[in-house]
């Protein structure tokens, strides 16, 4: 079938403003949207900029806004977006990030926020046995959060950064939870300053947009709320207030 890709273009070297450009592509309904984008790049317009790598939803390179929803171009099939010949698919870069070229955005802030939560196992004790023993049930508590591929779909879907750009964002918080909920980790207090602060976990208002957009099916909103609970419990036990910026 013939489909039309309506792609938001922007080259900071030559364009003052972004604009939409349409490409007509012959596609199979079972093709991935990424296949159609590759076809444009290889055979129609080599200047089109987008990131890609694994092409099956595990590397996180090709997150973009597809018909107004955030997701991976390689995990979205043409048949899920179109029903008949001549249908149009609108493709834009992720929100809340500076655009570097067409669909390529600058994710350095996103990774900075990820690093801020100390996303690594904190435990200086020598393991008592060869492994740090953990039951399968304990492991499953944080299982879904280990799925994260840092594609930033959730960050783009979240409405909060629009007016609160310093907000940590769903992915970073879920990665904090991934370690806070791991029985082998001892880093709760080390991570607290990045989470329990006005730009940390508290701006989340449970819009659930992150959860809906996650291509890896992580229960982001639930994990954020569980992390809030851990912090509230910790503060209550010490008769301290949470630091959400409200007096």
């Amino acid at each position: 079938m013939k489909i039309i890709l309506k792609i938001k273009r922007f080259n900071p070297e030559s364009d003052e403003n972004s604009y939409f450009q349409e490409f007509t592509v012959e596609a199979d309904p079972n093709d991935r949207l990424l296949d159609a984008l590759m076809h444009v790049k290889r055979f129609q317009d080599g200047t089109l900029g987008f990131r890609k790598s694994c092409a099956h939803g595990v590397c996180g390179s090709d997150a973009m806004r597809i018909n107004g929803k955030d997701g991976l171009a390689c995990k979205t099939l043409i048949k899920d977006l179109t029903s008949r010949d001549g249908d149009t698919i609108a493709i834009e870069p992720l929100r809340h990030f500076p655009v570097q070229r067409d669909l390529i955005v600058d994710q350095s802030e996103f990774f900075k926020k990820f690093r801020a939560v100390k996303p690594y196992l904190i435990n200086d004790d020598m393991p008592k046995e060869k492994e740090r023993i953990q039951s399968q049930e304990e492991r499953m508590v944080f299982d879904d959060t280990t799925n994260c591929i840092l594609c930033a779909s959730c960050y783009s879907a979240c409405p909060i950064p629009e007016n609160h750009s310093a907000f940590l964002g769903p992915a970073a918080i879920a990665q904090a939870y991934r370690f806070l909920a791991d029985t082998r980790d001892q880093g709760f207090e080390e991570r607290l300053p990045s989470l329990d602060q006005p730009d940390g976990i508290w701006p989340c208002q449970n819009h659930f947009k992150c959860t809906q957009s996650c291509p890896r099916s992580i229960l982001l909103t639930k994990r954020i709320n569980q992390t809030k609970k851990m912090i509230e419990t910790y503060r209550q036990e010490r008769n301290e207030k949470i630091n959400n910026g409200e007096s």
């Binding site: 080259n11 900071p12 070297e13 030559s14 079972n30 991935r32 590759m38 790049k41 290889r42 055979f43 317009d45 080599g46 200047t47 900029g49 987008f50 990131r51 890609k52 790598s53 694994c54 092409a55 099956h56 939803g57 595990v58 590397c59 996180g60 390179s61 995990k75 099939l77 570097q100 070229r101 067409d102 390529i104 994710q107 990774f111 690093r115 100390k118 996303p119 690594y120 196992l121 393991p127 060869k130 492994e131 740090r132 023993i133 953990q134 039951s135 399968q136 492991r139 944080f142 299982d143 280990t146 799925n147 591929i149 840092l150 370690f179 791991d182 082998r184 980790d185 099916s217």
Partner: protein, 578 residues
């Protein structure tokens, strides 16, 4: 711009990150990567990482080493295989101690499952040796190593594409790279360089490999006069999603999945009576093709794109959900089926390069049959050839290779750089790379690379695939040579400098063309069948004439082949049956 480091690591998958962790503790280190590190293809590895922990049944590193040697059809260097199997145990515990969330046994230990070609007591029966984290073990290894790099403040240059190696008088002095964000050329002078650039499955049309798997490191080495080892051995994974090539982990069969033909028969009973569906990959891939050619594929039309079924319906939703959740999701997304209800249509997919840059067991690059070391140059992971995989790699041994040899190379580099002076480099070191970029972007009109890429991938898939013969492979060599000639006319359409992904793709295409030529020529040269290299015109293994590694030298658009001894110091080569 010129940068000065002691150690440069090129690539940020499993071996690059592990080497970086080790090297950065001992030397001033930077990692150059064309992708953000967490996008590397290590993250796509699914089923597991093998180590003889013996957590669920008796196992020994010696058995693991033997299986590796036999799995590689005796083209494996046997002392290297022993190192791989012995160091596997501590490597897996190290990853766990650093936070990797392995699946657990009821006692809370690392759980283990079966995988192809891994046996107890030298081939008696399958053994549970693969340590796993659901079906995203590679993702977890990549994440854990990246997390540790963050913790240890490793320096990264993300989205830098390496173009050339600075090699003078047998000494490596650094690399030349182009920065994606600016289009600027950078020289990274260094005492030691490690290539950890991964595989090059994109020479084939149907592959499990990422778009980024274009063999940049091996291609650069080949153009700089370093021969590539055993390039004729390319693994086709038996179970890729029909048409797309997306990997369906061997873990599906490790958990009990069964391959079936159009009559619903478990055809592996005929080809591998002992290991059945868990025979090594080369054997299973050939068996599938043999079934299809005999009209036993699901359609039964004997065509090249006919397929077979991978039946996991009897495993049940619970096992699939707990142990194979990503596979379940791939089937739902790309096929619209639930593997708990319907069999998965599968076909072999180009998966793994056994060959690559020749190294010793410390990752040092070797440039000839006499073992001459290239000073300061290292390689690890899929781009390297130690050789622990020989003519056919066993499942789970690739993740293990990354971790064991990435770590060893990183440690060796840390010691090596203490003993050598900072190399002096001239201003001309970037000239070759500069001329290449200039030619591609000189504004002349020329063909775009897309058609050349397509023709290359089709030629390799059809003529240098699972079954091979002289006529087809000669045709592939001829065609790749003519594509290389056409490549000289290719020009980049994008005249911008910032984020010029067009330029990067045309550079990658050149790398793929060079590696296609080396692969096809090395395959044409080897007149026997061994492991993944199956010739219709030479159907038997020929130890008298061919128990030797090949070293393929690239000279422009021709290939010259030399040979190197195989280390068979532990086990005498025997006929390979399962």
């Amino acid at each position: 711009m010129i940068h000065q480091f002691e150690t440069i690591i090129v690539g940020s998958g499993g071996s690059g990150l592990y080497a970086a962790l080790e090297a950065s503790q001992r030397s001033q280190t930077a990692v150059l990567s064309k992708l953000f590190p967490v996008r590397s293809h290590t993250g796509a590895a699914q089923g597991g990482i093998s180590a003889a922990l013996g957590n669920v049944e008796e196992d020994k590193p010696e058995w693991h080493a033997f299986d590796t040697v036999k799995g590689g059809d005796y083209l494996v260097d046997q002392q290297a295989a022993k190192i791989l199997a012995e160091e596997a145990v501590q490597a897996v515990y190290d990853l766990e101690n650093r936070g990797l969330p392995f699946n657990r046994t009821p006692e809370g230990r690392i759980d283990q499952r079966r995988f192809g070609g891994h046996t107890r007591n030298f081939g008696e029966a399958p053994v549970r040796r693969a340590c796993y984290a659901a079906d995203r073990t590679g993702h977890m290894i990549l994440q854990t190593l990246y997390q540790q790099c963050i913790k240890n403040n490793v320096s990264f240059y993300d989205e830098f594409q390496v173009l050339d190696l600075i090699l003078e008088e047998n000494r490596c002095k650094g690399v030349v790279a182009v920065e994606l964000a600016t289009g600027e050329l950078h020289v990274f002078a260094a005492k030691a360089v490690l290539f950890a650039t991964g595989g090059f499955g994109r020479i084939f049309k149907i592959t499990s490999n990422a778009h980024a798997n274009t063999g940049d490191g091996p291609a650069i080495c080949a153009r700089r006069g370093i021969p590539l080892e055993d390039m004729e051995f390319f693994q086709f994974h038996p179970t890729g999603i029909k048409g797309l090539g997306i990997l369906i982990s061997e873990a599906v069969r490790g958990e009990g999945g069964i391959l079936r033909n159009r009559d619903g028969n478990r055809f592996m009973e005929h080809y591998s009576p002992t290991l059945l569906d868990l025979a090594p990959r080369d054997i299973v891939a050939r068996s599938i093709l043999t079934e299809i050619r005999a009209g036993q594929g699901i359609r039964g039309d004997r065509k090249i794109d006919d397929y077979v079924h991978l039946d996991a319906t009897h495993l049940g939703k619970e096992v699939l959900g707990a142990k194979l959740p990503d596979i379940t999701s791939f089937c739902q997304t790309y096929l619209g089926i639930d593997p708990a209800d319907s069999p998965i249509p599968v076909l072999p997919t180009a998966h793994y390069a056994m060959g690559g840059i020749p190294t010793d067991t410390d990752g040092r690059v070797i440039k000839d049959d006499k073992g001459t070391i290239v000073e300061g140059l290292y390689a690890a992971g899929e781009c390297a050839c130690v050789s622990v995989h020989g003519a056919n790699r066993l499942g789970t041994n690739s993740l293990l290779d990354l971790v064991v040899f990435g770590r060893r190379a990183g440690r060796h580099i840390g010691e090596y750089v203490k003993e050598v002076e900072v190399p002096s480099i001239s201003e001309e070191v970037a000239d070759t790379a500069g001329r290449w970029i200039k030619q591609l972007t000189d504004g002349q009109s020329g063909p775009h690379g897309g058609h050349i890429m397509e023709e290359m991938q089709t030629a390799m898939m059809e003529n240098v695939g699972i079954y091979r013969n002289e006529k087809d492979m000669q045709a592939a060599v001829d065609q790749i040579q003519s594509l290389l000639e056409r490549y000289q006319q290719v020009r980049v359409q994008d005249s911008g400098r910032a984020f010029n992904t067009d330029l990067l793709e045309v550079i990658e295409l050149r790398n793929l063309l060079d590696l296609s030529l080396l692969t096809a020529a090395a395959a044409l040269n080897r007149q026997e069948s061994r492991g993944a290299h199956s010739r219709e015109d030479f159907p038997d293994r020929d130890d008298d004439n061919w128990l030797k590694h090949s070293l393929a030298h690239l000279n422009g658009d021709t290939v010259r082949i030399e040979y190197k001894m195989v280390d068979t110091s532990v086990w005498e080569p025997k006929p390979r049956t399962y």
